[in-house]
């Protein structure tokens, strides 16, 4: 299960997500020519407190679903990529549906800190050509999963 601070997400098999991405990693990352830009920079994901993590993962996964996967879907020609893509997307939907970030007022400063991190990522995404940004974001799923991995317990 995942434990993003107070948020628990059960029933997600992390190796499945890795397996799905691993199958397409080289293909997708080879399509990303702008290697001088990294969307999920260190400032976005490093030293995230447990309390922040639920807010941040919720924002990131919703963005991946509503922007990256939604628009990348039409670009997929190869069946192999489509299969991995669907597996990742379905698992992200499952995780987001189980995340319940707290709306308590006393969590405001923490949720704002997480939001600032997310905005760093989103701003970098918006500064790029959309097609290029979609490919780059999909290619950085290994960075996202590596960070999520820290909150995963067998």
């Amino acid at each position: 299960e995942f434990r993003f601070g107070p948020c628990r997400v059960e029933g997600v098999v992390l190796p499945e997500l890795w397996e799905a991405f691993w199958a397409v990693k080289n293909t997708v990352q080879a399509q990303d020519d702008i290697t001088s830009v990294r969307l999920l920079k260190a400032q976005v994901l490093q030293n995230v407190s447990d309390a922040e993590s639920c807010y941040l993962v919720h924002s990131l996964l919703k963005f991946y679903l509503n922007t990256v996967f939604k628009n990348y879907h039409s670009k997929i020609a190869k069946v192999k990529i489509l299969k991995s893509f669907s597996s990742l997307a379905n698992n992200f939907i499952d995780i987001v549906s189980k995340l319940q970030p707290s709306k308590d007022k006393d969590m405001l400063s923490i949720s704002e800190s997480a939001h600032r991190r997310f905005m760093l990522f989103r701003r970098a995404f918006k500064q790029m050509d959309t097609e290029v940004a979609l490919v780059k974001a999909f290619g950085e799923v290994d960075i996202l999963l590596t960070w999520m991995q820290k909150f995963y317990q067998l």
Binding site: P15, N26, R38, K150, Q153, L154
Partner: protein
């Protein structure tokens, strides 16, 4: 985290003196950097461990061949992620026999060090959720079983006295697709049963 770039010499130049130059690139940064120890070298590998020691970064490397005044195109790797792709070695294993038990003490594998004088870093510090698969084989009954543990000690109980058991252990990080390297097999015999010893 020992990261070595290997390549094949260009075809059709056997017996001709060819030298190589390597550069590397940190994903998200601006420029290619020279690998200081791999300029105009004749060997076909380059140890980039120092250059890629920040395992949270992702890297590219490229190499080109030079022969007299002629120069090849760069040959570039795919994106390399040490944190994901490094191979985690086995732990050190210490066995202590009891009458019907064996206690297993594990020491987490160490991060590869270029200079033995460098501070040792345990892979446990890098992978906080590092786990172990312990495999146990009873040589008398020829039965094998395994157990997955997180901490570094395991007490095998209800064993048969005066019996040779063999153990090997693999380290792994849950979730990441990686080859595992098992430890050397170690065999040890449980002690003689006190009752039979008194007879």
């Amino acid at each position: 985290m020992k990261n070595v770039l290997h390549w094949n010499p260009p075809e059709g130049l056997r017996g001709v003196e060819v030298t190589y130059t390597v550069q590397y690139f940190i994903y998200g940064q601006k420029q290619w950097l020279g690998a200081s120890e791999c300029r105009s070298i004749s060997r076909t590998y380059c140890d980039l461990s120092a250059e890629t020691s920040d395992y949270e970064h992702q890297y590219y490397a490229k190499v080109k061949a030079m022969q007299e005044t002629k120069c090849s195109e760069w040959a570039e790797t795919r994106r390399f992620y040490p944190f994901l792709e490094t191979q985690v070695g086995p732990p050190e294993v210490a066995l202590t026999p009891g009458e019907k038990s064996i206690s297993i003490d594990l020491t987490a594998p160490k991060k590869w060090q270029r200079n033995p004088k460098d501070d040792t870093v345990s892979m446990q510090q890098i992978y906080s959720n590092l786990k172990y698969n312990v495999f146990v084989y009873n040589t008398k009954s020829r039965r094998m079983w395994s157990k997955c543990i997180t901490n570094s000690t395991l007490e095998l109980r209800w064993l048969e006295p005066s019996t040779l058991y063999c153990v090997h252990v693999e380290s792994f990080v849950p979730g990441l697709p990686r080859l595992t390297l098992p430890s050397q097999k170690q065999c040890i015999s449980t002690l003689e049963d006190e009752m039979s010893a008194l007879k």
